[in-house]
Symmetry: C2
Subunit: 353 residues, 2 copies
């Protein structure tokens, strides 16, 4: 058979795309440099070994060889629309424009659906479900090509939006690449901290440093392609921290405390702008904490109870309890439900806090 | 009646201490500058208006007036042991040593149990349960006084540890104060970012910036008392970011990518050192993601199912889905349970990913 969709590269994203398409009855044609990985992806159910004449090619290879592979595919399959999934867009768009006579059929895209772990084994059919999928056309793309990528995103349950490659790269520098570098820089300082000091770490440090566990090899490629957008942000932050260092080093100086207070206040404002659940702004939910023991079903039994009394959880977090075999469950609910739920929990023997 | 335990200050910590002691049948004597707040704490059940001759005084006032209040209590109640709950210890210990002839009866302590929101209304009887409670004696304290505070911590379910005031302040600078300032500095940059850019934010940014929502007034007091420990850490980080800025600004230069790669790798190492659930190191749990709809009981029904098949959740996170009325539940389990759970979920119609 001839495959209408060709996926180049069967890592996390390529394999996930194949699995997602298979759910819609579409058998993708797969190619991969490593034959062993290709076979693995096929065994996973992501598609078949590619043959034929595709109408759409999705290039899912590491960022630093994406442009080269896109150009190769444009030459190999005249008339086919080619897209990619790399997380930086301008550099690749420029390389393709310079390197191919068919650049108008390349539409860049960025499904924002990575995971801390890569590889075939981490692939999931629902990886793109309910996640943003940015499409980054240029003025040379025919509308039909842009629509084809948007339809692909919608078919896989993603939330497509359209931006220029430059606007996309500027946005991800601020909301993704800058936090990555800060988390890494913070976590890197922990390599020199004594065990007794680390033992006092709480949820604040855990959350702030979490994404420092990401793959260095992949991130070097991403950052090198978006260096021009990330550099000024890091520069501004370094300046901010230098000023903070001055204020802290001479804390009795006039204005030192006011400067620190102002930074903390701006932090309050900034964090309030981050979209929360379902894309909305953070609502001021009511938070309560319930103690459960650390056994199978304990959390379930709590949540069953909460569901039974008709209250919807807006968010939930398990608190880690250093040294204790219990769990603290932090739940967020709408304020109007707080009194009702609190009464019901207490009346039924839950340890509420 | 005469109260054997006196609590000075009925904010979040003082009121929570009173509530916790009440659970153990101890009625605390309360004092507070604002009579309205005092009455509120009494109505909450945190104790009674103080009278008599206490054996223990717990000072729970803002950090910048803690030393003054400790000294006042040492003079007012000769022979009573006095402790406090402030989150920076050396400065207060020095002020008390200089300002009181009874400083040997002051034992500093720091129950690490704050919340992003303060005040009587946020108080909880279980605030200290399963949390670290650092006791910071000096060489002048009799052992009996130190033991009294340790017993208090144990009685309230906290996990006491003993450190010198200096060692404590150095530790919290690294694991608490530095992350706070970084999160605030990161979030502060978001005030200038366009809405369309912010809309691409994901869980990474949300986690990294979360604690930027903390109270600026309280944090200015904390940071000003620990400025000498925090300043060099911020200075080191500013230097690291300056070097990163240089590497990113001239990304083609020899060694630029290697430097960035090295930072990311050190970040991997550092984050792996943060204690996870129950104080252990992060185990490499198996992660899977399940789709649920956003209705009361949906999460409970999933977790009931997981409990029913005998699998213990190590961690759980609700993923926010921008624009979609569904939830993605990320669960962490021990690797050996992964295949069993995955089969059971799929066989019973759960949308697994």
């Amino acid at each position: 058979m001839s495959h209408s969709i060709k996926i180049v590269g069967t890592g996390l994203l390529g394999t996930s795309l194949g699995l997602a398409l298979a759910r819609h009855g579409i058998t993708a044609g797969l190619v991969n440099q490593s034959k062993a990985n290709l076979r693995l992806a096929i065994e996973y159910g992501a598609g078949e070994e590619f043959q034929g004449d595709p109408e759409l090619v999705i290039v899912c290879v590491p960022p630093d060889i994406t442009a080269e592979k896109v150009i190769e595919q444009l030459e190999m399959h005249p008339g086919a629309i080619v897209t990619d999934v790399a997380s930086v867009k301008s550099d690749i768009a420029a390389q393709v424009a310079a390197g191919s006579e068919h650049a108008e059929l390349y539409v860049g895209s960025h499904p924002m659906a990575g995971r801390e772990k890569g590889g075939v084994g981490s692939a999931r059919a629902d990886l793109f479900f309910a996640r943003p999928w940015v499409i980054t056309p240029t003025e040379h793309n025919p509308q039909v090509a842009v629509n084809r990528i948007r339809d692909l995103a919608l078919q896989l349950g993603a939330l497509p939006s359209v931006m220029s490659p430059d606007a996309h790269d500027k946005a991800v520098a601020a909301v993704s690449h800058l936090p990555q570098l800060l988390a890494s820089a913070l976590a890197a300082r922990l390599t020199g901290v004594a065990d007794t000091e680390i033992s006092l770490a709480g949820q604040g440090l855990r959350d702030t440093a979490r994404i420092a566990a990401s793959d260095p090899g992949l991130w070097v490629q991403i950052l090198s392609q978006n260096a021009s957008n990330v550099a000024p942000l890091i520069g501004d932050l370094a300046t901010e921290l230098n000023e903070l260092h001055s204020s802290l080093s001479d804390i009795e100086a006039s204005g030192a405390l006011a400067k620190i207070h102002s930074l903390l206040e701006r932090g309050n404002e900034g964090v309030a702008r981050i979209p929360g659940k379902h894309g909305g702004k953070y609502v001021d939910y009511h938070q309560m904490t319930v103690v459960i023991d650390d056994s199978p079903g304990a959390l379930a039994s709590l949540l069953t109870f909460i569901g039974d009394v008709g209250v919807n959880l807006e968010d939930l977090k398990l608190e880690h309890s250093p040294g204790a075999q219990i769990g603290l469950v932090e739940i967020q609910i709408i304020p109007s439900a707080a009194e009702h739920l609190s009464e019901q929990l207490t009346a039924n023997g839950w340890r509420l806090v």
